[in-house]
Every structure is written in structure tokens, then in C-alpha cells.
């Protein structure tokens, strides 16, 4: 097979950081090439360089053996390189076809030929086996389909090389499997794919070759058949990593959170959570599994005080907190790791120190009588950043200068570090590398061991099963099932997740 892309000695520096250090990498025609590495290893930076978003300080990019220079994404697109970022750049009110052709519209002069656009997009979708309705509004599509639109956008611009930055981080397992099918089809048609992932199992499943990065360098390029999850993890982190955590037995205490008959509405007034009730006790991890969009996000927002309860009660440590606002609940000891780290969890323009103080900036010792004590802010931040291994641990750095995983670690440092009585965590390990996941799981179990309560929402079924003492499944705004840890296994939980509740009950009934 011939090499379509070759990177030679790519080096990129940011103030105080060597993000890419003489990186060499080759991409073959029709190859699916995974890039693995710790948070901050320089993966996104490297991809942005290939896609023309960033210019390297040193090194060369060769396309089909010829050196090229990109000074903007436009140049890279013209050369046949398309990138899909983790956060989509779609216009929600436009249709699929409109989004795909945007900036390269068919039609003469100022007239936009919608018919022609839809026809072209339909053809494109058929050619690459990516079913999507060109006339649908993007806002109405699932995350997985929106991602497809992003991919189609690159092909409409004649991409031969596709770059995907953590494409599965926001997908359900089912959507991820569909994406892999699409990727294989594309590779079969000669498209080359570079993709970043933190999920070792999926990398082993779908990639032809795997390149591991550490501290800005490439440390190895391997074939899946020659390696294992454990070896990849060790290569990434540079030490032996424990891929699964053990849950020591803990004595369960009194109820910390009691939710009764809770109903929560979406923005449009339709119910997202309907009459949900459960209790979480001290020393208990209560895991909620489920397919995204079944009310989990609204449920945790209601518990954190960011969304009103339309009906029902929330009690925390025996007190009715249903009417409390978010600040009051946070100060009372409810920590909350939100779903959307860049839009909600962090203020990107703030420094890390300011972000770590987000919920307590007005309290001593961080502030006195309305004046912020910057030295206190700073020194507290320094300690937190080091404890949570945020890289670089610079309190004065703007949050936007951190890699995706390190931004997530800042949120975790703030929320887990506040010594909460109840931790509400939505996908706390999304975007984290295996080493960081090991650490966060350890912290969750530490809180559990200290008699705190944890509400863990995750789309990763394995994560829920591994950490939870109680596993609940959410489906269409209701708790479809609640199992003690011992009785929850992949098959049973998976069945309830997809709404196979009636079926599941029938089968169990028949088995008896």
C-alpha cells in the first residue's frame, strides 16, 4: 500500500510547553490509523497541524511524497484533508444538505439551488453508505447523525484523508459501532482515516495500525494483533496501569439523597423525567446506566439545582432542598460534574485558579468583604492542580490552553476536591486517558470509603457496572430497573437500556 501522508519531524511549541516533539508518522491509503496517548500528549495539536488549523514550528508534511504547507484549514481542505472536531461546527437550524454544502454551494451567482444540493448530498451519502436524510433539520438529529453530517461535509469537499478527534467520546456504544462500520466502508473505498481515542478496546477493534504518543513524541506504532489493552495502556502512561478497579466492601450508612416522585421538564415543556424515586446512602455508589437522552441530564441538573422540579421532592441529609438554588445546594455539600465541560463546567477565558474557585470565590479564605485574595486563590489552585495531575499545573494559565482531558481534570479537581457529602457526576471520565480514569475511579471509591454518597451517570456500561453498588437503568424518563450490584450484568442491564423491559420481564417470568 502506498503512503498518502507522511509527517517528518513535526515540532510545535506553546508558551512553556513542547506539544509536539519531532513527530514522525505515516498514513497509508485506505488505512484506519489510531492515535493514542495521555491527556496533553499532543494528539489534538498534531491533528490540527495536519488539518491546517495550526502551523508547525519545525518539520514537514508530505502528501503523496510531495512537501506541502498549509497556512489555513482552507489549504488543507483543498489538498483533500478534512477534519471533524469533537465539538461540531454545524448550524442547527439549517438542513443536512444546507450544512453540508455551506461555503461551497451549488447554484449560479447568488442563487442557492436547494434541489441540487439535496440531490448531491443524497448521492454522497449513498456512495459512502452513510444514511441520513438531506432535508432533515440538523437540530433534530442525534449526535451520531450530526457527526455523519460533519463527515459528509469533508467528503463534499473531496477529502481523501479524514481526521476524527475523539469521535466516539459523545456517542452511545451503538452509535460508535455504526461509526466503525462507516469507517471500515470508507477505508475500503481508499479513504485514509486518522482518529484519536482513549478507548483501548475500540482502538483494537477498528484500527489497522496504532500510534502511541507520550509527552509530544511518538513512542510506538503497532498492529492490533501484536498488542493488548494492557500493553497499550502501559506504553501511553509509561508505567503499569490497573485497568479495572476493585470495590472493597463498605458498610452502608443512612440515606444522603432521597428523591421522590420527581418530574422534570425539558425546555419545551415535555417531561424529561417522570415520577422518578430512589435513595442513595452514605458509602454507596448509585450508578445510572442508559442511552443518552433518556432524561439522565435533566435528572442530575434537577438534583444540582439548575433545573426546577415540576413535581416531587428532593431531600438531602434529611432536609427538603427542592426549593434551594444551585449555590445553596453546592455549599451544603452537593458537588456536580456537569455533562458539558466546555459549555458549563469551565469558563474558558478564566485562569485555572479562577476556574477552581468558581463555586467559592466569595468565601474566605479566597475572598474577604468582596475583595479577592489572589495569593490564596493561587496557592489553593497550585495544590489542587498538582493533586489531580493537571498538566501543566500552572494556576495562571487560561483554561482554553489546556488539552481536553486536562480541562476535565480541572473540573474534577474542583468538584471532588471540595469534600462533598454527595457527588453527582455525569460522565466524569469522558475524554480522560486510562491513567486519569484509574485515578478518578480511585477518587470516587475513596469518597465512598469515607461514607459519602455518589450518583454516577455514565453511558459507559462497564464503568457503571464496575463502580456501582446499585445499578439503575433509565429509559424514557423513568427508572426502568434497579439492581443491587450482584444482580446486574451486561445482558440484563443492556436489555432494559433499549426498552426491552416488557420483553425482559416476560423472559424472566417464563424462566421461573
Amino acid at each position: 500500500m502506498d503512503e498518502v501522508l507522511r509527517l517528518r519531524g513535526i515540532t510545535k511549541r506553546f508558551p512553556g510547553v513542547l506539544a509536539n516533539d519531532r513527530v514522525d508518522l505515516g498514513l497509508l491509503r485506505g488505512e484506519i490509523h489510531a492515535v493514542l496517548g495521555e491527556n496533553g500528549a499532543g494528539k489534538s495539536t498534531l491533528m490540527k497541524i495536519v488539518a491546517g488549523m495550526l502551523e508547525p514550528d519545525e518539520g514537514r508534511i508530505e502528501l503523496d511524497g510531495r512537501p506541502v504547507r498549509f497556512s489555513s484549514p482552507r489549504d488543507a481542505i483543498a489538498a483533500g484533508i478534512g477534519m471533524v472536531y469533537q465539538h461540531f461546527m454545524l448550524i442547527p437550524v439549517f438542513t443536512v444538505a444546507e450544512n453540508v454544502v455551506l461555503g461551497a454551494e451549488p447554484g449560479r451567482g447568488l442563487r442557492f439551488d436547494r434541489r441540487e444540493a439535496e440531490r448531491e448530498v443524497r448521492e454522497l451519502a449513498e456512495r459512502y453508505h452513510m444514511e441520513v436524510d438531506p432535508a432533515a433539520r440538523v437540530a433534530d438529529l442525534s449526535v451520531g447523525l450530526q457527526q455523519r453530517v460533519e463527515i459528509l461535509k469533508t467528503f463534499y469537499r473531496k477529502a481523501r484523508i479524514l481526521i476524527l478527534d475523539e469521535p466516539t467520546a459523545a456517542l452511545t456504544p451503538q452509535e460508535a459501532r455504526e461509526l466503525f462500520q462507516v469507517m471500515r466502508n470508507l477505508a475500503g473505498q481508499g479513504i485514509s482515516i486518522l482518529f484519536i481515542s482513549h478507548k483501548l478496546d475500540e482502538v483494537l477493534e477498528v484500527a489497522d495500525r496504532i500510534t502511541v504518543m507520550r509527552h509530544g513524541r511518538t513512542v510506538a506504532t503497532l498492529r492490533p494483533a501484536e498488542t493488548s489493552e494492557q500493553e497499550l495502556a502501559n506504553l501511553m502512561v509509561g508505567r503499569a496501569v490497573q485497568l479495572t478497579s476493585v470495590r472493597p466492601p463498605v458498610e452502608r450508612g443512612p440515606a444522603v439523597l432521597e428523591v421522590a416522585d420527581l418530574t422534570v421538564q425539558r425546555e419545551d415543556g415535555r417531561p424529561a423525567v417522570q415520577g422518578v424515586g430512589f435513595a442513595i446512602h452514605a458509602g454507596e455508589v448509585f450508578g445510572i446506566a442508559g442511552v443518552e437522552g433518556n432524561g439522565q441530564a435533566e435528572l442530575v441538573e434537577a438534583i444540582a439545582g439548575l433545573r426546577p422540579a415540576a413535581a416531587g421532592r428532593i431531600r438531602f441529609l434529611g432536609r427538603d432542598v427542592t426549593a434551594w438554588d444551585a449555590r445553596r445546594r453546592a455549599l451544603a455539600g452537593i458537588a456536580y460534574v456537569p455533562e458539558d465541560r466546555v459549555g458549563t463546567g469551565l469558563v474558558m477565558g478564566f485562569t485555572l485558579a479562577e476556574n477552581l474557585a468558581l463555586k467559592r470565590y466569595f468565601l474566605p479564605p479566597l475572598a474577604r468583604r468582596g475583595w479577592i485574595d489572589r495569593r490564596a486563590l493561587w496557592s489553593e489552585a497550585k495544590g489542587r492542580l498538582e493533586a489531580y495531575d493537571v498538566r501543566p499545573p500552572e494556576p495562571g494559565l487560561a483554561a482554553r490552553a489546556l488539552s481536553g482531558g486536562n480541562q476535565q481534570k480541572v473540573i474534577l479537581a474542583r468538584e471532588l476536591g471540595s469534600d462533598p457529602e454527595l457527588l453527582v457526576a455525569y460522565q466524569p471520565t469522558r475524554g480522560l486517558d486510562v491513567g486519569a480514569i484509574e485515578f478518578v475511579h480511585g477518587q470516587i471509591l475513596r469518597l465512598r470509603g469515607e461514607g459519602k454518597a455518589i450518583l454516577l451517570v455514565s453511558l459507559e456500561l462497564d464503568e457503571v457496572l464496575e463502580l456501582s453498588d446499585t445499578v439503575a437503568v433509565m429509559h424514557r424518563g423513568r427508572l426502568a430497573a434497579v439492581f443491587p450490584a450482584g444482580e446486574a450484568d451486561r445482558e440484563r442491564v443492556g436489555l432494559y437500556m433499549t426498552g426491552g423491559r416488557e420483553r425482559a420481564q416476560e423472559e424472566e417470568g417464563a424462566g421461573r
Partner: protein
């Protein structure tokens, strides 16, 4: 909290914009048959050539500094206050009234009271209607602050043209304020008053509030990302009202200083559109309080130097307006685009 190098880098784009504008201005002069070199020399001499000229330049800068700070403070909170002009007007009105109607006070107290009146009037004009509307109905502040500017201008017409604040006689002008409310002149026979120190002090206050207080923290958090601010338990609505109020207070003080230090009375439409130039000043300064002082000085110098340029080099002073216009264009294009980008990026940062 930016490092020194980051600061310089951030200053680079505005400096380039200014240089580029001067260059294009030179081309325009050449094209219309003037030699740009002596013209710019005259512009510079006119602005900074003599102590008198320097004082005049500074005097012209003071209202721009204060209104510019007002606009910058709002911008930092994510709010586009284009109504500094109106807040300037109501500040002038309130200050003038306190200046002539309140008597028997020692000078220091009288000045302080008059300034306070200007600040409060500007704050209410910014906070009360635009702030409350924005916070509780979502009405966009660009519209409401602009509307309030027209209201302010009409209000002053009403008050002065046969209204309750007209001085005896037929000219639409208020009575003179009492000498006890005058701001002392720093340089005799110029318009440079102690208002300069008020402007410098205002910059210190703006910086302290933004960077050192919990209020500033809230304002900046809301400005960067209102969703994250709400998540953190910050009352976004209240912060919006406070930020527009603070912004209006600075503009109101600008009007007060103009009355107490320069005009000593309220004329019918006596302003040179400071509130609008202030937007450009703030954008050029990237909403940094210190840089706002510098940007205001630049525009003060341009307007002061322009008349001298016309006299000594024969270049019409309108050409300076052209240069100003080009600066505005470059700055506004860059800054507005950057601001919009940041706003939308808050929602979907490409950082993963």
C-alpha cells in the same frame, strides 16, 4: 493575569491597525494632492508640540477615557453598551442641576456631590431600563441603550428649550454652576482640569473592580460564559444589572467632569459624540482599563492635531476624520469579529 509577552502580543494587533490606518490615510492624502509627511508632522506638533497643545490633547482625552472605561467594563461583562452617549447626557444634566441649584457647600463637598449625581444618573440610565430589561426579559442591550440615548437627548432638549432648566433669556442653556462646584484648571487658559485625575482614578477603580473584587469576578464570569456562571451559582440577571449600572456610572462621570471642568453649564447638544467614540476606544484597548487611557489619548491627539494640521499644512481636517474612520474600521472589524467568535466559541470550544 496574562504574562508580559502575552500582553505585548495582545497589543500588537491594535498597534498594527493604527499604523495601517495612518498609512492608508497617507495614500488618501497623496491621491488628493497633499504631501502626507508634513501633514503628519503638523498633526503631531498640533497634538504634542507645546505644553499648551499637550494640555489640550489631554483635555480632549478625558471624556473619552471615562466613557471608554464605561464601555470597556460592560464589554468585559459580555454586554455591548452603545448608549454611553445617553448616560453621558444624563450625567451632565444631573451634575449641572446640583452645580447651580445646591448652594452653601464647601467646594470639595460640592464637587463630590455633583460628581456623585452624575455617576448615579448615568448608572440608573444604564442599569434601570436596559439592565432590567436585559436581565428579566432578554431585550438586547444594544437596542435599549441606544433608545435610552435618544430619550436622554430629547430630555435635555425639553429641559433647556423653555423647560425647567433653562436660564433666564432666550438661549437654550442652563444657568451657570456655582464656582464652588468648578474643577480647578491644571493649566491656565486651557480646558485641562483636575478631571484628568478623576479619569486616571476611574481607570484604577475599573481595574480594581474587575480584577480584584468578587463583583468583577462575577462580571467577567458572566461575560465569558453565562451558562458556566449560572452553574456556579452566580445570579446572572443581577450581575447584568450591576454591570450596566457600573458602565453607565463611568459615562455619567464623564458628563459630570465635562460640566464641572470645562463648560460650567449645560448647552443644548454640546457633546462631540464622546459616547460613540468611546466604543472605538474600548475596542482598540481590548477592554483593558490601562490601555483605554492610551487609546483615549490617541483619539484626543488626533482631534487636537487635526485643526493645527489644517492651519499649518493646509490639509483639510476632514482627512483626519478619514484616518479616524479607517482606524475605526480596522479596529471594529477585528475586535467585533474576535468578540463574536469568542461568544460562539464559549459554547463549542475546539479544545478536545
Amino acid at each position: 493575569m496574562r504574562g508580559a509577552t502575552g500582553r505585548w502580543r495582545a497589543a500588537l494587533i491594535p498597534l498594527l491597525a493604527v499604523l495601517l490606518s495612518l498609512l492608508i490615510g497617507a495614500v488618501v492624502m497623496l491621491a488628493s494632492g497633499y504631501n502626507p509627511l508634513p501633514a503628519y508632522a503638523a498633526l503631531f506638533v498640533g497634538a504634542f508640540g507645546t505644553p499648551f497643545n499637550i494640555a489640550t490633547t489631554l483635555a480632549h482625552s478625558v471624556p473619552l477615557m471615562l466613557t471608554g472605561l464605561g464601555v470597556a467594563v460592560a464589554f468585559r461583562s459580555g454586554l455591548f453598551n452603545i448608549g454611553a452617549e445617553g448616560q453621558f447626557w444624563v450625567g451632565s444634566i444631573a451634575t449641572t442641576w446640583v452645580g447651580y441649584a445646591v448652594g452653601g457647600l464647601p467646594p470639595a463637598l460640592h464637587v463630590a456631590l455633583a460628581l456623585l449625581a452624575g455617576a448615579v444618573a448615568g448608572a440608573l440610565w444604564g442599569a434601570l431600563v436596559p439592565g432590567l430589561l436585559k436581565a428579566y426579559t432578554g431585550a438586547h442591550e444594544v437596542i435599549t441603550t441606544m433608545m435610552m440615548t435618544y430619550v436622554a437627548i430629547q430630555l435635555s432638549h425639553f429641559l433647556l428649550e423653555g423647560g425647567p432648566m433653562q436660564a433666564p433669556g432666550y438661549t437654550p442653556v442652563s444657568p451657570d454652576i456655582r464656582p464652588s462646584a468648578f474643577l480647578p484648571l491644571l493649566v491656565p487658559r486651557t480646558q485641562l482640569s483636575a478631571g484628568l485625575f478623576i479619569a486616571l482614578g476611574a481607570a484604577v477603580i475599573a481595574w480594581l473592580i474587575l480584577e480584584r473584587t468578587t463583583l468583577g469576578y462575577r462580571m467577567r464570569a458572566v461575560g465569558f460564559n453565562a451558562r458556566a456562571a449560572a452553574y456556579a451559582g452566580i445570579d446572572v440577571a443581577a450581575t447584568t444589572v450591576l454591570a450596566l449600572g457600573l458602565s453607565g456610572a463611568f459615562a455619567g462621570v464623564a458628563g459630570a467632569v465635562e460640566v464641572l471642568g470645562v463648560n460650567h453649564r449645560l448647552y443644548d447638544s454640546f457633546t462631540a459624540g464622546y459616547g460613540f467614540t468611546a466604543i472605538v476606544v474600548a475596542l482598540l484597548a481590548k477592554n483593558d482599563p490601562w490601555a483605554t487611557l492610551g487609546a483615549a489619548l490617541l483619539f484626543g491627539a488626533l482631534s487636537t492635531g487635526a485643526s493645527y494640521m489644517q492651519l499649518s499644512a493646509g490639509v483639510p481636517s476632514q482627512l483626519v476624520d478619514v484616518v479616524q474612520g479607517i482606524i475605526i474600521f480596522f479596529i471594529a472589524a477585528d475586535a467585533i469579529i474576535a468578540w463574536l467568535l469568542r461568544r460562539s466559541r464559549n459554547r463549542k470550544e475546539v479544545a478536545a
